[in-house]
Every structure is written in structure tokens, then in C-alpha cells.
């Protein structure tokens, strides 16, 4: 049986009117004899409202209870969608993570799937029922409900597509695909027809939040073709696939330019330059569960280095006070913070085989008189940290410099 997995996010099922629209759309796409599995997130702000309620009652609620609580959001939306499909004449059944049999590890609020039993789903699909699965959730071996972390419904969809060997996994969002840059910033940005997993991973981690990174990793691992498309119209979106020959034949060097304005930079000066010092700093930060992004280390004075790094802005205060403490302990200099920075990145598997990409990037920024504060590079991406106010200008200049501008949006 040919099986398709569709995933609809929280804004697509935010209220009765939208659930009705999604149901109509699903019924239109349902082909006789083919299996359709639909994964839904919780309605609109349901999850946040439940978290707020929990916080009022316990500022540090046990994670097992949090999962027990917030998993209800998807249970509600999946049941409502199933009954709406039935009202529209389709046959449908909603299943929770437990009912599907999505086995995860014990890491409440950020569990990882280790096994899915497709039996129940296949049984329902064979009776020509549309299977509506509550996203974002599973159960551990103790039968406790677990959740997969923010955006976990994407991961559910990809995992189900993998285990069901689905023909495709369609991720419906409020945008109509992945763009070469944010169209609100770059008027010439256009929708990318096809992008490979690694590029998508870099773009996602750089702030293009169309689909959760973990879901893309999963898709890459299990070779699931993702189709990112609009909930609102029928046009094709962006295919996320394995890197293929015709991609490089297109001679695309840079796939897109992204902007992340949600980080802040910290610097600790005059760190004694001896082995293990960097480890000492970043181990403490990791233990405080703070996610460090870019790290730069430069020799400052003889026997001393300056270490700079970026963290998500909400973590700045916490990181800063921790760093002050560490600075005293390791007898370093002072801690300075730069709250408003922008990280501009260019991404493309093509750059691996095209020398000079980095030079073009730096020259472009120099021509725009934009000062580069930090640089970091990987196989398929180069990121520069600049002043926050220069961010959007930098994106526009790079989009033009790498030949990405289009007169009008392509298909």
C-alpha cells in the first residue's frame, strides 16, 4: 500500500474553523486504496497555556508530570480532527503516542524515539481509515507518557514515515516552502525547489524555523523525502532530499542566506593560556545546561587568551553571572557582554568544491562597511557575527553577491 504522511502544525489547527479547513484539505488529498497518516500538533497556544498553568502551581514541575500534562494538547487536536474527518464523510481514527506504540527513552520533555510498532496503524489503514496521530509524544518502557521536545510533531511525522516506508512526508506550515532568505528582509528571495538534508540542517539551526532540526536528521538517517509546503494553498513547496547529482549540476554554490538575531556574545579576557582551561570554562557552562553556539579563541597578551562565544539571548544573564564566577576561579581578566549581535550565514553544499566563497563573503561585507566580530566555518556554511543593526543589510548584500536575487518568485 502506498502511504503518505502529512503533518499539520499548531497554527493550522488553532480553532474549529481551521480544523475544518485542514479536514477538507485532507479529504481532498485522500486517494482510494492509498494509506494516509496525519500527524497533528496541539491547537494554537494550548501547550504554552498548559505550561503556564503548571508554572503557577509548581515553578519546577516534575518532568514526568509535565509530559503527562502537555501531551493532552495533541490528544485533543487529533480527536477533534478525526471526528471532523468523519463528519466530512471520511473514515478516521485518532491514536495517541501510546496507542500507536511509539516507544521512547526515559528523557521526559526531550525523549528520543527508539522503536515504533506499525501494526496498529497498518491495521487501521487497511480498513481504509485515515489515521490521525497525536504528535510530539510517546511512552517509555514504564508506560509513562513522554514528549519529544519543542516541534516534536515534525519528528513524529518523519519517524512514522520511516517505519511505514511512506512515499512522502508532507510538512504543512504557514509558509509555502524554504526560501533563499527571509522574504521580509530580501525582496528578491525565492522559494527553493529542492534542498539537501545537510543544507536544511544548517538553515534550520541558523534560524529558518520551518521544520525542527531533529526531524531533518531523522529524515536523513532513514532517507525520508520531506515536502515542506503551505497549509493554505496547493502549490508545490520545497523538497528536502538526499544530495543528488542534479543539484550540483545546477551549479548552485550557495543555497541560501540566513540571519539569526537571537543570540548574544560573551567574552572573557586574559584567560591564562594553559591546557584544560577552555574545557574548564565550557564544561561548567554545559553543566548549567546552556547551549553554546560559536566559540572563538584568540591569543591576547603573552600567555593569555581571550575567549568569546555566543549563547541564546534568554540565557545571557545566567551565562554572564556563571562566567564571572569562573573568571574569578581561573584568575582570568574581565567578562564583557554584547547583547545585540546578528549572525549572518551562507549555506550550500556547493561551496565545498568552490574555493573563494569565504573571500567573496568577507569582501561583500567589507564593501558594505560592515565590521565582522566573529567568523566560524563548516563544510557547507560560513557564519559571521556582526552588529545587530548591520544584520539585515548584510543578508541583502550577500543574497545579491551570490547571485540569488530573482526578479519575481519562482514557482
Amino acid at each position: 500500500m502506498k502511504i503518505t504522511v502529512q503533518k499539520f502544525g499548531g497554527s493550522s489547527v488553532a480553532d474549529a474553523v481551521r480544523i475544518q479547513k485542514v479536514a477538507n484539505r485532507i479529504i481532498q488529498t485522500k486517494k482510494p486504496g492509498e494509506g494516509l497518516v496525519v500527524v497533528v500538533s496541539a491547537m494554537g497556544d494550548t501547550t504554552d497555556e498548559l505550561i503556564d498553568l503548571a508554572q503557577q502551581l509548581n515553578p519546577a514541575p516534575p518532568e514526568r508530570e509535565m509530559d503527562q500534562l502537555i501531551s493532552t494538547g495533541e490528544q485533543i487536536s487529533s480527536a477533534l480532527l478525526a471526528m471532523t474527518l468523519e463528519a466530512g464523510g471520511a473514515k478516521a481514527v485518532s491514536l495517541t503516542g501510546n496507542q500507536v506504540g511509539i516507544q521512547t527513552d526515559d528523557s521526559h520533555t526531550k525523549a528520543r524515539i527508539f522503536k515504533i510498532d506499525p501494526g496498529k496503524m497498518i491495521e487501521e489503514l487497511e480498513q481504509d481509515r485515515i489515521v490521525v496521530v497525536a504528535g510530539f509524544q510517546g511512552i517509555n518502557l514504564k508506560k509513562d507518557v513522554t514528549t519529544l521536545g519543542r516541534g516534536g510533531s515534525d519528528t513524529t511525522a518523519v519517524a512514522l514515515a520511516a517505519v511505514l516506508d511512506a512515499a512522502s512526508c508532507e510538512i504543512y506550515t504557514d509558509v509555502d516552502g524554504v526560501y533563499t532568505a527571509d522574504p521580509r528582509i530580501v525582496p528578491g528571495a525565492f522559494k527553493i525547489e529542492r534542498i539537501c538534508y545537510d543544507e536544511m540542517l544548517e538553515l534550520a539551526s541558523l534560524g529558518t524555523k520551518v521544520i525542527q532540526n531533529r526531524a531533518v536528521e531523522f529524515a536523513k538517517k532513514f532517507d525520508v523525502v520531506l515536502h515542506v509546503r503551505s497549509s493554505f494553498h496547493d502549490g508545490p513547496g520545497t523538497l528536502v532530499t538526499e544530495e543528488v547529482e542534479d543539484m550540483s549540476m545546477e551549479q548552485v554554490v550557495i543555497r541560501g542566506v540566513s540571519l539569526n538575531q537571537e543570540e548574544a556574545k560573551l567574552t572573557i579576557t586574559l584567560v591564562p593560556d594553559k591546557p584544560g582551561i577552555a574545557a574548564r570554562i565550557f564544561k561548567s557552562i554545559a553543566e548549567a545546561n546552556i547551549n553554546v553556539d560559536m566559540i572563538i579563541q584568540n591569543v591576547s597578551a603573552q600567555g593569555f587568551t581571550d575567549v568569546s562565544f555566543t549563547v541564546p539571548r534568554p540565557e545571557l544573564a545566567k551565562t554572564s553571572s556563571l562566567l564571572e564566577k569562573i573568571a574569578r576561579e581561573i584568575e582570568a581578566g574581565e567578562v564583557s557582554v554584547e547583547e545585540k549581535i546578528a549572525k549572518v550565514s551562507i549555506v550550500g553544499v556547493g561551496m565545498k568544491s568552490h574555493p573563494g566563497v569565504a573571500a567573496t563573503m568577507f569582501e561583500t561585507l567589507a564593501r558594505e562597511k560592515i565590521n565582522i566580530m566573529m567568523i566560524s566555518t563548516s563544510e557547507i556554511k560560513i557564519s559571521c557575527v556582526v552588529r545587530a543593526e548591520d544584520g539585515e543589510r548584510a543578508v541583502r548584500a550577500l543574497h545579491t553577491a551570490f547571485g540569488l536575487d530573482r526578479e519575481e518568485e519562482a514557482g
Copy 2:
């Protein structure tokens, strides 16, 4: 291990403030070394809101999906209560009907429990955790979620008390016990200290809605002592127990007087008086799923009878049009309805052995010039239907006549 089961209704956990209060109360009552199981209903109007939402999307939603949907209400309140208990320093864990292992039949929205596995609860109790159970729900053999019908959390509490062989099952409500009559109608009404299951059943079905009837039946069957008490203060409430010797020694003849103003009366006249006619009428009504309460049949003319009966008032229109149809089919006379009636009942196991109770009731109403429209009697109850406007006066008169008035409320 001594185990207590406590049940808190939806109004007791309607918002964060009340959940906090309930948690404080539970923590105060938790004794070291003793097991405590708490059953909760959904917060306030949650269930009704979910039903409304479902109705908007499907006027006749599949019952399986309804159960999948509305069972989330109790999952939410139980998780919130468990985390609030943890915040207060107690150890607690919330369990859904599925996690407890409450096996029911397949009757979605009105399932009946057939088995409960106490293993998981006992395991948690032995680790000194307060077990917070989502009321109102179970699962069938297909692992689909089922619900137990309105007020089903009472049934959950009693069933858990039975299977855990609990020392007592405390039902917390917004009133502080069962009264001899509604104190808003009868100022001299007082709280009953102890009442037997059968009396409670009659009072409940007659409109004293403190606890669901099915829960009382369950309690009777499994010999679970119920303690109906206030969520708001510590005073003792009403014990619902097996009929015991000291109850009759108290020489109480009548336990209470109740008033039901939620029924309407229908009469079909000149029904041909031949065998099977009553069956014909009431079979049709039962097939339309209408709950008939009192039935009276009287000979009217030679070879004809008049049949009167009462139904819940919301069913009146439906019953009336059905009855018109039946009247034509069986060639009876006309159908008349009396929308505003009151049913006044006296209840007490004592009346079995005390002749003259009925006479006292009829005399009392006659003295008050209250006309009796219908009479029905059982072993432990006598009900009279009177005009709606006479209902409250009838209750007061009977309360006095049977010696139930007190100067002030007894403990």
C-alpha cells in the same frame, strides 16, 4: 497498608487557586506509612467546553473519539494536582485510567468497569507516593480510551477503594454532607450523620445530587464505606454504609425528604384496555432512549384506561410527539402534558417496619390543601407528584410532620 481514597470534583479543582487548596488539604491528611489515592474530575467546565468544540465540528461525533477527547480533562487536572503536591513537599504521581489499568467494556461514553489491576497503584503507594488518578476513564480491551458517563469520577473512586480494600472512600463536594432536606427550602433541615446505601440511592435518584447513583450501587456491592464531606472545611460529613442495627435503634423512620422539580408528566387517555398495550407504549419510548420515571395506570371508561408517566423535562417535547404517534397507532384518546410538576418523596428504611407512614404523608399534604396527582411507593420510599408551585411547601410540611426539624444544625 491502610489506604484511603479521596475524590475531588470539578469545582474543587476549577482553577490554580483551588487546586492549591485541595493540595494543601491532601498534604494535611496524608499520614506517614498510610496509602493515599486521590481521584479527580476535570477542572470546572473543561468537559463541557470540549464537548461544545466537538459539536461544532461534528454534530454526531463518533463516541470513541469523544472519549479520546474528553478524557484529557481528567488527565490535565490529575497531572496538575500531582505537581502541586510535589511543590508542597509531598511525593506524588498522576496516573490515567490506562496507566492504572482500569479495564472497561466497549460502551464508549458510558462504559462499565470490569477489572482493575491494583499492581501499579500499590507499587507507587509502597514508595510512599500519593497516587493521583484521572477519574471518569478507563480503557477497553482494544486499548481505546473509554469514559464512565457523567459523574463517573465517583465510580472510579469507589471502584479503586473496593479493589484496594481501602479503609474509607471520601467524596469531597461543595456541600458538607447529605441533608434531611434541601436547607435552602427547609430551614430546619440537618446533616445526616449516617445513611444506608439504599436510602442514599433513593435520595440521589430523587434529586439530591451529592454523589452519582452508580457509585453508590458500586459501594453497596463491594461494601465500601463512603464519607461525603466538604472540600472547604474539616468537619465530618455523612457516612454512607450498610444498613446496621443501631440505625433502626435510633428509631428513625424517615431519613429525608426530597424534591425533584425536573420532570414533566404526560397522560394518554382512553387507551384500549387489552394485554400488551402498556408494553407497546413503553417499548417505543424506551427505544427512543427516553428514561421514564413514575408510571400510573387507571381505569377510565369501560374497557379503557388512562396512562400517565413522568420523564425528565428536557425529554418532554420528544416524548410528546412520539406519544401522539403511538396514540394514533393504538387508537387511543388524546395526549396531554403537564410541564410543571414537582415530585416530593420521603425516604427511609425504617418505614418498612412502621405502618402508617403513607397515611401520615397523605394526611399532611391534605392538611396543606396540596392535591396529589400521582403516587408511587417502594420498600423504602413514597413519592407524590404535586403541582410545581406546591412542591416546596410540601417538603417543609413533610419534614415537620415526620419529626425531622431541628432547632439548629446538628454536628
